[in-house]
């Protein structure tokens, strides 16, 4: 079997993966880098991000403030050394991206503009109209084209980490065009595969967000950290789950219930200002509160019967009409386009129906602040990793910046590791890849009389995730989900493919993705069951209070033969002792 050999290999070609590739392209042009992605890089989910990326650059802002906002936003579960590092490196990374051509929106004097965002005391969110992720991804992708030492493996689907001699030496990847599985070897492997929103039924996430890298690491014995923390974005379109950016609230949009009442004022998020008040929207208040609190408020409103019934479940209204057509077309034109196309309303004149939908997974592959995982030779960055800077709840616009800061850091860590690592054990790695090819052929290409369908199992999975591990959880609901997932994992062995072609077999990749989703879901629900407290986006109706005594710790879920083993790791506290999260004051 042929194998491909590089110095460093990056799995995933989104914002983090491309930033990592460029870091090596620029700083180590003599090293060969592989970017292995199951889709063309410009299709990566980074492209859908809308609102912006945070970094301190304005004179009225400070690194301390960004740190405090992030740490309090995380309900004190973020590692403060990681946050400090992130906040310090963010401005330079963002300027660097501007130097690579990113078309940031500007002030009249030509400097980069910033806008307010949820949970942040001072505006620091850089934006490119309301297609920030799109512009960032395309700037990164087009910049990456410059480097001759970067080889792209487009539409190669990673199926297994190749671990030999206690270290990760590459991946086995399926080349979609030929159906062949090959070893792609590298002294350093960086996972940049994104999150797993598709394990829930209503999500802003694209089809590709199936937790691939998380599952690959989990199966190789690397723990998944803080998996119980899943962010519901308060404003997604009902049904499709399409994202309506937080920027619409940053620019002054308000949330109202079936009575036309700005209900957030009932939930400790401060006092509402009139929309025409020059101080509206006030930061860290009302609609600019943190996402977890806004999503929880929706559930409470629904219980009170103050939400609006629709064909895809209940919803509330986002009102941006007072912004006026000119401001909407300038600041949030994509929102207008999405509303017209997908719900047939024009936000200039009508109310936008919105509801919380799953958006981001705070948890992920356990890494340190360098992006190193406990498995030598394996690194991770971006949404698939958990450093953690986001803790129990992520602030909007921190994740796009996170891609740049940790994409670059993980790349440098991988390069340092590779410089002192022994040569790749080519024969053993190739043999492992051949075994993987054999396994897949036997499992999926031989008629076995299986009775399960991919779509059927997937629907059952997403259903149990929403009912058992949604915005509010209980021991009962979580146990039910744990049982269901155990059952689904067992039944997934009965999946039978209709497609036995080797050319571009997306039924095969969908089946493999379902298996990844089941592993990630398993880690999530068991971690949630074990955390008997409420913190950030993990809310237990049976344990409604935050418990710093027992749980100022990260959960670590390790795969085992039966249920995952959950361990705990202390949170790193530097300068900000745990306090109360307060919004709406001042």
């Amino acid at each position: 079997m042929e194998h491909q050999s590089h110095d460093i290999l990056i799995v995933g070609g989104g914002g983090a993966g491309l930033r990592a590739a460029i870091a090596i392209g620029e700083e180590n042009p003599n090293l060969s880098v592989a970017v292995v992605s199951k889709i063309y890089p410009m299709r990566s989910h980074t492209v859908s991000a809308e609102g912006g990326a945070a970094a301190v650059i304005k004179p009225n802002d400070s690194l301390e403030d960004h740190c405090y906002d992030t740490i309090s936003g995380s309900d004190w579960l973020a590692d403060q050394d990681a946050v400090e590092l992130f906040v310090n490196e963010a401005p330079a990374e963002m300027v660097q991206l501007e130097h690579w051509g990113c078309p940031w929106s500007r002030e009249p004097d030509g400097s980069v503009a910033v806008r307010p965002f949820g949970g942040m005391k001072i505006e620091r969110t850089w934006f490119a109209a309301d297609k920030t992720g799109f512009h960032m991804l395309h700037s990164l992708f087009q910049t990456a084209l410059k480097f001759n030492n970067v080889t792209r493996y487009d539409e190669w689907f990673a199926t297994k980490l190749l671990v030999h001699d206690g270290r990760c030496q590459g991946v086995a990847a399926l080349e979609l065009r030929t159906g062949q599985i090959r070893a792609i070897a590298g002294k350093g492997t960086i996972l940049c595969t994104g999150g797993a929103g598709r394990i829930f039924p209503f999500t802003t996430n694209a089809a590709v967000k199936t937790g691939d890298g998380m599952a690959l690491a989990y199966r190789a014995g690397v723990p998944l950290k803080d998996m119980e923390f899943v962010q519901y974005h308060p404003t997604g379109l009902p049904g499709t789950g399409i994202l309506i950016t937080e920027a619409s609230r940053g620019e002054g949009g308000i949330l109202i219930n079936s009575q036309g009442y700005r209900y957030l004022q009932d939930y400790d998020l401060g006092e509402p200002l009139d929309v025409n008040d020059p101080s509206h929207p006030r930061k860290r208040t009302m609609e600019l509160g943190p996402r977890d609190r806004l999503s929880q408020a929706f559930v409470q409103e629904r219980k009170k019967g103050e939400t609006i019934e629709g064909p895809y479940g209940d919803y509330v209204h986002l009102d941006v009409r007072h912004m006026g057509e000119k401001k909407i077309d300038k600041k949030i034109p994509f929102v207008r386009e999405l509303c017209r196309n997908y719900v047939g309303i024009d936000p200039v004149h009508e109310l936008i129906p919105v509801r919380p939908v799953v958006h981001y997974v705070m948890g992920g592959v356990h890494t340190n602040i360098e992006g190193e995982t406990p498995l030598p030779g394996l690194f991770a960055a971006g949404e698939c990793a958990c450093v953690s800077i986001n803790g129990a709840n992520r602030l909007g616009s921190n994740s796009l910046t996170e891609l740049l800061v940790f994409g670059a850091r993980a790349a440098r860590a991988a390069v340092r590791f590779g410089a002192q690592a022994a040569d790749i054990a080519v024969e053993e790695i190739t043999a492992l890849a051949e075994q993987e090819q054999q396994r897949i052929r036997e499992r999926f290409f031989q008629p076995q009389g299986g009775t399960e369908t991919i779509a059927g199992l997937r629907t059952e999975l997403t259903s149990t995730m929403e009912s058992g591990a949604g915005i509010y959880r209980s021991e009962e609901s979580l146990r039910a989900s744990c049982d269901k997932i155990r059952e689904l994992k067992q039944r997934s062995g009965q999946i039978e493919l209709a497609d036995h072609s080797l050319t571009f077999n997306t039924e095969l990749t969908t089946a493999l993705e379902l298996e990844y989703m089941l592993d990630v879901a398993e880690a999530l629900v068991h971690s949630a069951l074990a955390r008997t407290e409420s913190r950030g986006s993990h809310q237990r109706t049976d344990y409604p209070e935050r418990d710093d005594q027992q749980f100022l710790k990260h959960s670590l879920a390790f795969q085992s033969d039966g249920d995952p083993r959950i361990e705990y790791l202390d949170v790193a506290i530097t300068r900000w002792p745990p306090g109360e999260r307060v919004y709406g004051s001042k």
Partner: protein, 255 residues
């Protein structure tokens, strides 16, 4: 088949889908599928229904389902469209014919080979080559909102290649650099921070570049992001012509 049987009393719509299975088919065929009709469904929803419940072998690309990733471009009734933005209600009750994007080789079913486009992006140097170097420590390049506006439209390209599938010139001359690649080159040429318009000139002010274009204009019509690649190409023609006059009338001003 169970799904469509139980939905017999409910409305359905027929899809006529291009199938090509290498190794199995020498020539492509069309396969008909009846799917449930829902007013807010897009063609992509219908394809997903087929793959999930009727025929798992049907193969196509998709991801974001909101018109920003560019994966799901296909010919719908002979016109290139993003299937995540083509609503069934605009075709119902007639059947919908779905084929892979025109003028690209077909790998399988609705999946085309787009290597050519990516090669052209590299050829045309679609990345920023700054006029002057500036260390990151000195902060961002200044760019006024007016300067940003000059190239912003051309930066909105999602690389969906509907424009190539609409361009009969590309269909007949695959060497043509093509609408999106030239629009992206212009995006950088017009960026006030960029200084490499001359570098890109060789690739685009060439026989296979702008001069191959006969301004059919269908690329602009089908572009889902209103990039106006035809406009980019004609503006580049004006630039190239001005350059030529300058080099002829003022030869000592050249590099």
């Amino acid at each position: 088949m169970a799904a469509s049987e139980s939905a017999q009393s409910a409305a359905t719509i027929t899809l006529e889908v291009f199938r090509y299975r290498p190794g199995q088919d020498d020539e492509p065929t069309f396969q008909r599928y009846d799917v449930p009709y829902q007013e807010d469904w897009v063609v992509l929803d219908a394809l997903n229904h087929v793959k999930d419940h009727i025929d798992g072998t049907l193969t196509y690309r998709w991801s974001c389902r909101m018109g920003v990733c560019g994966s799901c471009g296909m010919m719908v009734n002979g016109d290139p469209k993003l299937t995540c933005a083509a609503f069934l209600r605009d075709y119902y009750p007639d059947a919908i014919r779905i084929e892979p994007l025109n003028y690209f080789p077909v790998i399988r079913d609705l999946v085309i080979n787009m290597d050519d486009f990516l090669d052209k992006m590299s050829e045309v140097k679609t990345w920023l080559i700054p006029k002057e170097e500036k260390p990151v420590s000195e902060g961002e390049y200044l760019q006024t909102p007016a300067e940003l506006a000059h190239y912003k439209q051309f930066s909105m390209c999602i690389n969906c290649m509907l424009c190539y599938a609409a361009c009969p010139v590309y269909g007949q001359h695959p060497n043509f650099i093509g609408p999106a690649a030239i629009a992206l080159a212009q995006r950088y040429n017009l960026d006030s921070r960029d200084g490499a318009a001359d570098d890109r000139a060789d690739a685009i002010f060439s026989h296979e570049g702008i001069w191959e274009c006969t301004f059919v204009g269908d690329c602009t019509r089908v572009c889902p992001k209103k990039v106006d690649p035809a406009g980019a190409i004609q503006q580049a023609k004006v630039e190239a012509t001005k350059d030529w006059f300058r080099s002829v009338l003022v030869p000592w001003g050249n590099k």
